[in-house]
Structure formats: structure tokens, C-alpha cells
Amino acid sequence: MKKRFISMFVWMLFTAAVLTAGGQEEAKDEKTELTFWHTFQDAQQAAAVQEIVDLYMEKNTDISVEVTVWDGDQAKTVFGPALATNEAPDIMYTMSNDEMLGVFAEAGYVIPLEDAYEKYGWDDILPAHTKTSCYKNDRLYGIGHELDILGVYYNKVIFAECGLEVPEDYDEFLNVCEVLKENGYIPIAFANQNGWPAYHQQSFFYNNIVGKEQLHKDMFEAGSFDRPEYVESIEYFLEWIEKDYVIPDTLSVTYNDGNAMFNTGKAGMHTTGLWAFNSFYDALGDDIGFFQFPQIKDDKPAINPGGIGSCFTVTSNCENPDLAFDFLDFLISSDVAEIWLSGSIIPGVHLTDQQVDSYAMPPLFRDIVKAVNSPAGFGFNVDIYMTAEVNEVTLNVLQEAIAGKKTAEQVIAEIDAAWQISK
């Protein structure tokens, strides 16, 4: 009997320990709490976000904003389950592609924002292109932010050493590559072990050979990639590989290592996006330059891929959507644009040249911000608008093409086949 009593007591103790393992609930704060998850993991970027959040809390002393920073790759596997289990925050900064925002919207985990846009007048301050990728099934679920542009970063010192100038067209660009190669430099710091950097090269050529208008039709109006121009685009890209203009054994080198090659002066150019600006500027300072991808076809003006990759969303978890909208209104306002820019993040809000000139920032970054805000605009960053299935096929066939296992025709055929199934 005594033994049984002890056994029962031990078991009850254990069960109690398991059930209360979460710890005691903290005393409720009097402030209204708002939770915010984002993926600005770069130290400078995270600091800029925190500065904006702190400013908001200073102005609204009855509100407390709890911020959590996630790694971009982590977000892909964490955000979905968090939403599904009601553990998601009030506001989430997420990729606006089908893999994330598309899935969340379809599941009803994020709320439509058309009413908020109207109430806060966001259409008056945000350009139309910031909304393009935030529409899912004709409803608007996100506020596009973090304008990005893909272009060509170059090392001014290496260019000067090799007697090179910024190329004005594609033939001159190829000549620059040849000269850099002859002088022992890697012309373009393209490294593709991760697979996704090839998406951006694909976007450069699609936009400049196929053209923005046709690309728009094929992506948004149920078109097809089965056109000679797409094949030609891939052939142009593969020419870089054939002529050894990229990092040797590019499929064995990670994107970060490729950046390191550029940052340490081993490569003359790098064709990538603005997210890498901080790393380049920290390493090279004012020795780094930027130019837009040069014109390839006479009848197609030069255009750089760009746009919104991510957006702010309000989750269906949010108990106080009006408060969330108020916070978002502050986040995207031009009042805090300078703080975003200090973190090398171009906010979605339209900025005039005068505004940009009035903010403190590195001269190169200022030029890029102006380019992004110019009326010429930018083309499409194709992978943002493709489904996960198409992106997976694209990643693998481009690697095979780089390895010489597939031709440009085969690449386009496979990508188009995947697009026809999943669009």
C-alpha cells in the first residue's frame, strides 16, 4: 500500500512538472502589445528596424512592440507552422511570392488590406508596382517594401588598373570581361552552388532580350516561355560560362564565397541585388561602383530586374488589426524613410530626388536609390513571380546547363513544362 502511494505520488509530481514546464505566466503589462516578425537579419538593417520601432513606441507610450528577427531561410520553415498553430505574430514581414504569401493567403492566415489602403491613403504614397506581387486571387494581402534592383557592381580600382570604363552596351560589357580575364581577374563573381543566383542572371537576360512587356504577358497573362527569345536569353547567359567569365567551378562555390571573391578584389564585377550592398560597401567603401545592366538589343531599352521581394502582412492571429495598420502606416511613411535608407533598405514609399539628396547616405547608394525611384523603373525579378515547382526546376536545369549537361533549348522546354502545369 505504501509502495503504491509513493508510486502514485511520483507519477503525479512528474505529470505536474510536465504540465507546468512552460513556466509561470508573467504579470500582464498595462501596455497594448503588438508582435512583429521580420527577416532583416543584417546587423545594420536590424538596427534600422529597431530604431523605427523605438520611435513608434516613443510616440505611442501605451503600446509595446515586440520584435523577433528571423533568418530568411528559417522563415520559410517557421512562418507557416506558426500561422497554422495560431502562434504567429500580429505583423509578419514575408516574401511576397507564391511559396509564402500565396500559401498564407490561400489558407486565410493573412487578412486582405484593401480597406486599410483606402483608409490610410497608402495608394497615394506607394507606387503601383509595390502591390503587384502582393495580390493573390485578386485580393491584396501585403504592403510591398524593400525595393530591390539587380545590377552590376564593379571594383573601380580594378577597372582603373585595367584601363576600363563603365560599358555602354553589351558588346562593351563582354570586352570588359575579356580584359579583366586577361589581367588575371575573375570578370563576374557569379557563384552558383546555392542555385538561386542563377535566377538573377536569367532575369537580366529575360528582361533585356525578351523585353518587359512580353515577359509580363508570359508571366501574368497565362503565356508560355516557349519562345526563341527565352532560348536566346539562356544562350547569352551560358556564353559567360563557356568563356570563363565567372568564378571557376562555379557550382562548387557558394554565393557568400562569391561575394568574398568580389570583396577581396579578386573579381572585377558582380551581378547581384541590393541586399549585398552593405557587405560590398563595408569591404570596398567608395571603391565600389554600380551600373545598370547594359543594353543588349537595339530595339529593347536596357532595363534592370527589380521590384518588391517582400511585404508586410497582418495575420489573422492579430486581435487588434487597427493598431497593426497604424503601426504599418508609421513603418512605411516618408517620415522614417531616412532610417530605412540608413540600413541600406529602400522603402516602398516613393521618394523624390530632392528627398533622396537631403538624406545622409553613401553616394553610391544615393545613385541606386534614384535609379530605383526613376520613371524608367525596372523589370521583373522572375523567380518572385514563379511557383515553387517552377523555381525548383529552374534551379536544377540551370545548374545542369552550367555543367554542360543541357542545352538552352532543353532548359526552356523544362521550365515551360513546369510553368504550364503549375501556373
Partner: protein, 291 residues
């Protein structure tokens, strides 16, 4: 204690562990099986019942069978190689070696390192630009052998297999050594008296007496090899273009990157059943041989 007089207190003590096992293992396993018959994106509440469609797709999926083949190669390589190295090292350390403990600890270290750390460090070693391997080959005049080890389809899988074996040989050595030290030395003395040499002792005494130890090790390594994920994901993510894909990395990509959780679940179910089948037939074979 007779069968009719069992103390029920024992059940009370195993109940908490059993509850945890049911909550975190058994129920998720059942749910995974159910999901494998559904089409689900992973985030929504809507799950469409598709019956065996995911399994039909599985059996016609070339990339899946490629991944399966890679797992089989992984099993063969990372069982045989560590076992042979472990046997040799254990045999040496079982003899008169000074500072034995230092060798045992050193050889066992790779096994206790986190596979993520192992993957990152070996990625640096294999790096074509600044990696030690290419630098070493160049320094000894074998520059022609230097290449992009993890990005070349001819070398990527082998490069990973070397790392996989490297992590396992220490464990084999320790376990085999323990088995060797449990063999009665009198048996070896009789062999010596009968005129037996070292090779004969090893093949006719040591190996047969290590049979059960080796059998357990082979099963343990085989199961681990079928489930390999960390190393592959960290070092190549299954690339370039699926040339190092394994079933675990494939199901991860399908379920968590492509939002095809139902299909990923079917891969997981196949993997589990395959491992169970191997374990079942292998254990039966060993027990038959014993009998």
C-alpha cells in the same frame, strides 16, 4: 515473481515515458501516414484526400529513385569503410600500444561532433578556392586533381561519402574494441600453443567472436545511412542537380520548400517502411545463423 503476481507499480513508472512517446512519436507517425494520402500545402486547413496518388507519383518519380539509389550507395560505403577501418584500428589498439587512451579519444572525436559542424568544416576543406584539399594537392604537384569537389557530379557524392565514413569509423573502433576486450585471452593462448599466427587468430577467433557486435553495428550504421540528412543538406542540399540527393533531403525539399507536404509524407512513409523491412529481414537472418 510469478506471472499471476506482477507488481503494477512498474507500469506507473513507465507511464510518463510512454505518454511522451505516444505524443511525440506515435501520434505524429500516424498523422504522417494520413497526410501521405492527402494533398496538403502545409499551411492551410484544407487537405484534399487523394488516396494513393502520392504513392503512384512516388513510384514514377525519377528523382526519388535517384535519391533512393544514393541512399543505397551511402549504406554500402558508410557501413563497409568505417567497419574495416574500425576493425583495423581496434585490432591495433587491442595490442601493446602506449598512450592508448589518446588514440581512442582522438579517433572517437569525429563521432561526437555535431554533423552541422562537420558539414561546415568539410565544406571549407573541399572549397575549390581556399580549401585545404586543393591547396594540398597543388603543393605536391597534383594540381590536375584539384577540382570543385562539391559542385562536380563526378565527385560530389564521393566527397560526401568520405565525410560520412569519417564520422562513423570512430564509433566502430570503440565498439569493436570493447567487443575484443571481452574475448577470453585463454582462447588466444590455446591458439598460440597450437601454432596459430596473428592472421589466423584474427580470422578464426576474433572475427567469429565479434559476430554479434558486428551484426549490431552493421544494423545501426545501415539505419543511420538510410536516414542521412544533415551532412548532405549542409554541404550540397542534394545538388548539383540532385546528384547527391537522398530520400531525407528530397522529402524535406518537397514538404517544406515546395509546400507539397502530402507528397513529402509519402516519401517519409516509404523510407520508414524500407528501414523497418531491412531491420526485420536482417535480424531474422542473424538469428537464423545463430540457431
Amino acid at each position: 515473481m510469478s506471472a499471476g503476481n506482477r507488481n503494477p507499480d512498474g507500469y506507473v513508472f513507465i507511464l510518463p515515458a510512454l505518454i511522451l512517446y505516444v505524443l511525440f512519436m506515435f501520434i505524429p507517425m500516424i498523422k504522417t501516414v494520413l497526410i501521405s494520402f492527402q494533398d496538403w500545402g502545409g499551411s492551410g486547413t484544407v487537405k484534399v484526400w487523394v488516396g494513393i496518388d502520392n504513392y503512384i507519383r512516388l513510384f514514377t518519380d525519377i528523382i526519388f529513385w535517384k535519391a533512393f539509389l544514393h541512399n543505397v550507395i551511402w549504406v554500402i560505403f558508410t557501413v563497409v569503410v568505417p567497419l574495416i577501418i574500425g576493425l583495423i584500428l581496434a585490432n591495433i589498439l587491442n595490442g601493446k600500444v602506449k598512450a592508448k587512451i589518446i588514440f581512442r579519444v582522438t579517433y572517437f572525436l569525429p563521432y561526437i561532433l555535431s554533423l552541422v559542424v562537420v558539414g561546415i568544416v568539410w565544406s571549407w576543406i573541399y572549397n575549390p578556392i581556399f580549401g585545404n584539399l586543393n591547396s594540398f594537392l597543388t603543393s605536391i604537384g597534383l594540381e590536375s586533381l584539384a577540382c570543385g569537389w562539391l559542385g562536380n557530379e563526378n565527385t560530389a557524392l564521393l566527397s560526401l561519402l568520405v565525410v560520412g565514413s569519417w564520422t562513423a569509423f570512430g564509433l566502430c573502433m570503440v565498439i569493436i574494441l570493447a567487443g575484443m576486450q571481452s574475448i577470453d585471452p585463454v582462447v588466444y593462448e590455446y591458439c598460440t600453443l597450437e601454432g596459430g599466427n596473428s592472421f589466423q587468430k584474427f580470422f578464426y577467433i576474433t572475427l567469429p567472436m565479434l559476430k554479434n557486435t558486428l551484426a549490431s553495428l552493421i544494423l545501426f550504421l545501415t539505419i543511420g545511412s538510410m536516414r542521412v540528412f544533415d551532412l548532405v543538406y549542409i554541404m550540397t542540399k542534394g545538388g548539383p542537380y540532385h546528384t547527391t540527393e537522398t530520400m531525407a533531403t528530397y522529402l524535406f525539399t518537397k514538404a517544406f520548400r515546395n509546400n507539397e507536404v502530402g507528397y513529402g509524407a509519402s516519401v517519409a512513409v516509404f523510407l520508414t517502411l524500407f528501414v523497418l523491412m531491412i531491420s526485420f529481414f536482417y535480424t531474422r537472418y542473424i538469428n537464423k545463423k545463430d540457431a
